[in-house]
Amino acid sequence: MKARTSRKKITGFLMILPLLIVFIGLTLYPFGYMIFMSFFRYSLASWEKPEFVGIDNYREVFRDRTARSSVDFTLLLLVTAVPLEILLGIGIAFLFRDSLGEKVFRSVLLIPMMVPAVVAGIAWKMLYNFEFGPINYFLTLLGGEKISWLGTQFFSRLGVILIDVWQWTPFVFLVIYAGLQSIPRDVVEASLVDGARGFTALRYVELPLLRPLIWVVLIIRVIDALKLFDIVYMVTFGGPGSATHSYSFYIYKVGVSFGWDIGYASALSILLLIAITILTNLLFRFLRFRETLEL
């Protein structure tokens, strides 16, 4: 009996071994190596060997003005784009539910999410073009002035936020729309029988039932917003100056594009990981996530 149990355990272990090897090789080892390298001065642009510098790389982050600017912009994105996406996504889901042409609207609304970020980035860059862009064309048709969408801090930041909202509102819509379909009709009908009308039923019956989904979407979008890279890379490349450097984009610049500074980029990455962990934990507590999901 004992021998059979241990053989079963060995078989089980052997079966998950390939996955374990992949997980260790592609996730745990690089992660551990990144933590290790964050304590070294190691630039791939020079021939020097890694040199242990303790927490110098972490100290440098607080002195680095571009790092500060990238934190500013990432936080701005977090407090503007994410709430907008959540509100618009919920609003659109309620608006199009049971409406005429619902299926067509649903398909059309999902297009931004399905377009690869690189393609979306090129398209938006053309839309924002100062001389030839359609947005400025229509602005001048309406008697307005051309806007330097990518040449001023305010408009380039606004531009990136708009793209993020355009691209990810459909995701929120999709999840909430699916949630709306799964709300038991009898609950809603019972509330109508009890006298709830329009907004009251929505406010006191449907939204509370959707709360677990809204929290999940919120956390996914917060994590995604903290990691924003592709749109910035394609549309503004962080400019003008460092106005639209997202934190992830700055890590890329330090580690690959302009610096090859592996030690410093590792320290920046670790800090991002810590920030995401703290923020999601705070959200979990603040939103009483476990109770909501009945975990």
Binding site: R41, A45, S46, E60, R63, E131, P240, D261
Partner: protein, 231 residues
């Protein structure tokens, strides 16, 4: 385009900062200390500020868009490498090309040098073939083809004075020699991309009016440069 170069190379600046060191370039003193955080540097940035009014979208245009602006005939001048001449030649807005487009020495007379590097990988299986290719690509014949067909700037003076090249591009010799004589070089140090990135950030803020164009502002950049160099 090196706005600081003409100031850095004036007799007064040579006396102040020393000769331009080939490894450190124009932005440093002969001793490898930042030189741009000075009145000369402020003046160079002021030149950029003064020129901004002539660009359609100075801070919102990337490299490709500046090429496009010129090929559409929207701007009178654009500082560029030579290779774009081949594509501009096909632009309908720039026809007749020979009459409409000319090449001149960079204003201030201090262009930035740029080049291609050819090397052989130590683990290459065909080192001999690779070497022969490099020999051909850098030979007078290869250099001539690259210029005539693709407008890649010659690396050999003998190509510049070649009768075939002179007939094709009579302006080349004068501009080429003048550019070589005034050429400035990016610092030949591993930290160069980082230094450039730091400068671009602050320079953009000055050009956007978010920071004043003063020696103090440039001092802050110089401090960041020194910190990056100490790392």
């Amino acid at each position: 385009m090196n706005f600081f170069g003409p100031y850095r190379r004036s007799p007064e600046s040579i006396a102040k900062f020393g000769e331009v060191n080939l490894d450190w370039g124009d932005y440093f003193t002969a001793q490898g200390k930042p030189a741009f955080n000075s009145e000369e540097g402020v003046q160079a940035v002021q030149d950029m500020l003064d020129l901004m009014q002539y660009a359609p979208d100075p801070l919102g245009s990337d490299y490709g868009e500046t090429l496009e602006a010129f090929s559409k005939g929207m701007v009178a001048m654009v500082p560029q490498w030579t290779a774009c001449l081949a594509s501009w030649k096909e632009s309908p807005q720039l026809q007749p090309f020979e009459e409409k487009v000319g090449v001149a020495l960079m204003p201030g007379g201090v262009p930035v040098s740029g080049g291609w590097g050819l090397g052989i990988n130590a683990s290459s299986k065909n080192k001999e073939w690779a070497f022969r290719f490099i020999q051909y690509a850098t030979s007078k014949e290869g250099d001539t083809i690259q210029w005539l067909k693709y407008r890649i700037g010659p690396t050999r003076q003998s190509v510049v004075v070649d009768p075939q090249v002179v007939t094709d591009s009579p302006w080349l010799q004068e501009v080429y020699v003048a550019s070589l004589n005034g050429a400035s070089h990016r610092p030949r140090i591993p930290e160069e991309p980082k230094l450039e990135d730091v400068f671009v950030g602050v320079l953009s803020e000055i050009l956007l009016g978010q920071q004043p164009n003063t020696v103090e502002t440039l001092n802050a950049v110089a401090e960041e440069w020194e910190r990056a160099l100490r790392k």
